[in-house]
Symmetry: C2
């Protein structure tokens, strides 16, 4: 792990995340308030602003890495951070549209320590409110009425398409016996990289940056996203449920072909082969739903023994380095560069 | 019914619909081809270009009223009809996104004489491909890179939001005992009026028309949409299954609070009251799924006796008149005006 930038420590990263959250949330809430009932209520539940009974709540709205990035992105282009707010809101809306739909498609019952929308409000509301948030994302940008907003919407649309491609790949991989490391990385680049890339460039685009600057910031965000997802894949197997809000061995329970799994299967050797046999048998097993902790622990140990955990950890660090190196291509205030670097550092050391 | 414009007869309307279809389909297919597998195949199945086994098919792609409108809309603004093509494609993509999601939410198993996507390819593909078509709609417009395209995307986004609002209302009404005629009209304005309004104005916007012209064409499309939906509601109860591709009494089987139903319930009198009692009992009945043709025929007869059929028929004609009157607000070539009028005439007399 490269040393964290001395000028920006972890406390500062939390302050950056908090700034992104506090500056974008009022605008996000105002946008969601425009939804026709009952979609406004369902969305407010999803964002953690109310509980399942409709009472005000102070739920976990997620890490808010994307809004923080969008604001820094505006500053990287020399604009006021507030210029990035509509971008931050639009990206958050697209991110949450995808969460609503993905949770339903994947049958995930928990998100951010709470029951998912389809579980509480039913599948139709999960589809509908996801659709509404997606539409709202474009609305929030396009109502700015500027040429820059048009460019930002075009980039957001491209990112959304990649996000959907990534989910399509993710679903198809779950039904396949073998997925290559390259396929997994491509899927994660689409599913996670594309929207972080958009978040990292959208503020700059709204601030009038040229395409080259925007593309370079996108590259930073793309690799940051790959680092982020590699860490997510580690947490999906070895994460602390109290911190992640997910079940133990969450990704294994869902037969996810995440990076540690595909890397372990590709590694060869006794542990890799034993893992391959077990997972092939699991795919056909009728008992899978009744597996105990012990069975998942065995699989996790084999993944680790085959080197899948270490490889994924190194991959996170590789992508982290590429992300930070990309920043060299943009002329920006040194303080902003230090903050983007610290955010990248945070992404690879986080526990949730 | 006002007399059809003598200059444009029914054969000409079919030619207009065919022109819209033949000019927009190649661009639509090229856009759908961009989707990552298996979404491209699922979308091609939905559009009727291939069958469930993947063999080329010449399926029923729908009436294609929207593409025809988008091309005429460009001509209304004095532009070449081809200027409207990206608008026609974008509107068709949004329309089909909503069909994919609505069929899943509503549990509809048949559309255009074929099994629906969720029935053939599963719910996840229906959600995913719907999302992809929605994103593609914005992409097709925004990649034009013009100021006009930005304005068109903004209008399409607003229409999409209304479409989603309308579906939310439609779903919520199915669970309510009483829905007023005003609520039903509002829902239909959102669910059907908004996108036809967009189709009727998007070509003009792409052709550089000012906001007033676009708004007036939108008004025409909105009322055309309300006329269209009133006719759809009639066909949903009394339509010929061979023509509509739906089951007999299709809307009654789904407990839809469509215009004939709400108008009949609002009318008062013995048939209206008897209908109200039956529908209230149906809502609680466990036998509803096993109802025979006779039970639905009884309900349809009561709706007709209470005046719901006649009221809806008149409503279609009222909206048709308002739509055509709206055209007076735009200066356009007389031939285009005659064609838009003939298209409105067609919408109210169609059998499918």
């Amino acid at each position: 792990m490269p040393p964290a930038n001395p000028a920006v420590d972890t406390a500062d990263v939390y302050a950056l995340l908090e700034r992104g959250r506090s500056m974008s949330t009022p605008v996000l809430r105002a946008a969601v308030d425009r939804l026709a009932p009952p979609m406004d209520t369902v969305a407010a539940y999803h964002f953690g602003w109310i509980d399942a009974e409709g009472r005000p709540a102070d739920g976990d709205g997620g890490k808010a890495v994307r809004p923080a990035l969008a604001l820094l992105s505006a500053e990287a282009a020399g604009a006021d951070p507030r210029t990035g707010i509509p971008g931050a809101v639009a990206v958050e809306l697209v991110h949450n549209f995808s969460l609503l739909h993905d949770d339903l498609m994947d049958g995930d019952e928990q998100r951010r320590h709470r029951d998912t929308v389809w579980k509480v409000h039913g599948p139709a509301q999960a589809i509908l409110v996801g659709d509404a948030l997606f539409a709202l994302a474009n609305e929030v940008l396009l109502e700015l009425g500027t040429v820059e907003a048009g460019r930002a919407t075009r980039r957001l649309t491209a990112a959304s398409r990649k996000l959907i491609d990534g989910q399509a790949q993710d679903i198809s991989y779950e039904h396949r016996e073998r997925v290559t490391v390259a396929e997994c990385l491509e899927m994660e680049g689409n599913k996670t990289g594309a929207l972080l890339a958009c978040a990292a460039s959208i503020g700059a685009v709204l601030g009038g940056a040229d395409d080259r600057t925007a593309d370079t910031l996108e590259a930073y965000g793309h690799h940051l996203g790959l680092a982020f997802q590699a860490v997510d894949d580690l947490l999906g197997i070895w994460g602390d449920p109290d911190a992640t809000g997910k079940q133990t061995w969450s990704d294994l329970r869902q037969r996810k072909k995440s990076l540690p799994v595909v890397a372990a299967l590709a590694a060869g050797g006794p542990a890799s082969e034993r893992l391959g046999e077990l997972l092939a048998a699991d795919a056909k097993s009728n008992d899978f739903e009744r597996f105990s902790e012990k069975e998942f622990a065995t699989r996790a140990a084999l993944i680790e023994e085959a080197g899948g955990r270490e490889w994924t950890s190194q991959e996170a660090r590789r992508q982290h380095t590429v992300a930070i190196d990309a920043l060299d291509g943009v002329d920006m205030p040194e303080q902003v560069r230090a903050q983007l670097t610290a955010l990248a550092d945070f992404v690879v050391v986080r526990k949730r």
